[in-house]
């Protein structure tokens, strides 16, 4: 079973898709890597030879891609920088609200989390 950049190993998928399980590799990067190695995109991960696995590892290394932990670290550092200089984007991150100017009147649930339930006892007897 292929193990690339630490802990990644999906077996029954086409290698083009399997590579995208690595944080930092999407479809297009995956295709670039495979083209470089001269491996058919449609090979299943389990059908890869050891040699092919190694060429993939080398190709990733040579392309100087920022992956997994290093990439995550860079992303958090970038966010931390924005928060530290107290710019608008930083403040939006701090408050976990949308950063790129989306509306917050409705939607924005990804950033705001699940809807808070309406307060119990909204209808009170004797009052409108």
């Amino acid at each position: 079973m292929a193990r690339i950049e630490g802990v990644e190993l999906p077996a029954n998928k086409r290698i083009e898709i399997a590579l995208t399980y690595v944080f930092g590799i999407g479809r297009s990067t995956s295709q670039k890597i495979l083209n470089r190695c001269g491996i058919d995109w449609n090979t299943k991960t389990k059908d890869l030879t050891v040699d092919q696995e190694n060429t993939i590892r080398e190709a990733i290394h040579e392309m100087g891609l920022l992956l997994e932990g290093d990439l995550r670290k860079e992303v958090t550092l970038n966010i931390k920088r924005l928060v530290e200089i107290k710019c608008y984007r930083g403040m939006r991150h701090l408050r976990s609200l949308p950063v790129r100017g989306q509306r917050t009147h409705t939607n924005a649930r990804m950033r705001k989390g699940p809807r808070r339930q309406a307060v119990a006892g909204k209808k009170r007897p004797g009052k409108k």
Binding site: E84, I85, C87, Y88, R89, M91, V119
Partner: protein, 92 residues
């Protein structure tokens, strides 16, 4: 659409000249800016600014990290504290 690279970053000439002037004489004084869309360039390093947010002047001391951002990013125009707890009562 993003700004054409040909033009370079938007730096307001008035502010830029003022900073250049101060850099030449080595003076440090607070510069008040209304141009919130003006990009902060390396020349502005170490200067004190006050940015207008529509109501007050917000102080900003420019450090290396601020370069490439715009003045307005550091002077919020809205001040949302939180909803008061008896908001429902207030509405009635």
């Amino acid at each position: 659409m993003s700004r054409s690279i040909k033009k370079g970053p938007y730096v307001h000439p008035g502010i830029f000249n003022k900073v250049e002037q101060l850099n030449e004489t080595g003076d440090r004084q607070v510069i008040r800016v209304y141009k919130r869309a003006c990009v902060i360039t390396p020349e502005f390093l170490g200067h004190n600014f006050e940015i207008y947010n529509g109501k007050k002047w917000v102080p900003l001391f420019v450090t290396e990290d601020h370069i490439g951002h715009r003045f307005g990013e550091f002077a919020p125009t809205r001040n949302f504290r939180s909803h008061s707890k008896d908001e429902r009562k207030a509405k009635r």
